[in-house]
């Protein structure tokens, strides 16, 4: 694997028991970024968090009952940019309708998107003919 430019393209069974596996894969990606000058341990943890949140979200909201439930996870390193995409074929949701703020102290839900937005440089969500794509980007400085 060329450490400054590579893509992982994974199909993950849509079951929460696989979240620890995808989180570990994300951590391994961070550990391989030799050119990253920041805190690699912190980056590894943050990638574990955002991938766990994004894939968990796709499993919870993105899978229709009738389809073979799989989530596609792509992790791409392009020089100093990291791009993570999570694809699902469910009904999707309107990212713009969700608050960017941290939920109120006692709300039990709603922190997943807040964490993704806090730990990555950008988070976007688009619908395509093939399904929905949550995309997160981070500049590797």
């Amino acid at each position: 694997m060329h450490k400054n430019r590579f893509t992982l393209d994974l199909r993950v069974p849509g079951r929460t028991e696989y979240l620890s596996l995808v989180g570990s894969i994300a951590e391994c990606v961070a550990q391989r970024l030799d050119h990253y000058r920041g805190d690699r341990e912190a980056l590894a943890f943050h990638l574990n968090v955002v991938v766990t949140e994004a894939v968990g979200n796709a499993i919870r909201h993105g899978l229709s009952e009738h389809q073979q439930s799989r989530v596609r996870l792509c992790i791409e390193v392009r020089g100093d940019e990291l791009i993570i995409e999570v694809h699902d074929r469910g009904q999707g949701f309107d990212l713009c309708s969700l608050s960017e703020a941290c939920p109120d102290d006692l709300d039990e839900g709603g922190r997943g998107l807040f964490l993704m937005r806090s730990l990555m440089d950008s988070v976007s969500y688009r619908r395509t003919r093939a399904g929905n794509v949550l995309e997160m980007r981070k500049r590797l400085r």
């Binding site: 979240l19 968090v49 102290d105 709300d107 922190r111 997943g112 807040f114 964490l115």
Partner: protein, 111 residues
């Protein structure tokens, strides 16, 4: 979920013997906390010393426990937060909501 409960008259200590709390086991954690509180304990200490990773589902399960404890006028304390886990509480500002102690032995039963 691998949970160990140590009960006495004064307090219950619920030890999570899991390295990771995420959407896979957060529901079980929520139920374990509720069961411990329904048993009538007045002080529930949740020891997270074995936990290396927690996501928003895990934080939500702990908040559920905290709110259930409040409803029952019981005290709810978290202990043993590792640095990564603590950072998640700080990022979401939940460290201001929960009572947090370093070790189980640091929790004074009747403060």
């Amino acid at each position: 979920m691998n949970v160990e409960i140590d009960q006495s008259d004064a307090r219950s200590v619920l030890r999570l013997n899991e390295e990771r709390i995420d959407a896979h086991n957060a529901g079980e954690l929520k139920n374990s906390l509720l069961n411990a509180l329904e048993d009538g304990c007045r002080l529930l200490i949740v020891d997270l010393a074995a936990v290396h990773f927690i996501d928003s589902s895990g934080l939500g399960a702990l908040l559920s426990g905290y709110k259930n404890a409040n409803l029952r006028q019981a005290r709810f304390v978290l202990t043993g937060l590792q640095a990564r886990v603590r950072s998640m509480f700080e990022l979401t500002r939940l460290h201001r909501v929960f009572e947090i102690a370093e070790h189980v032995g640091d929790v004074v039963v009747n403060p």
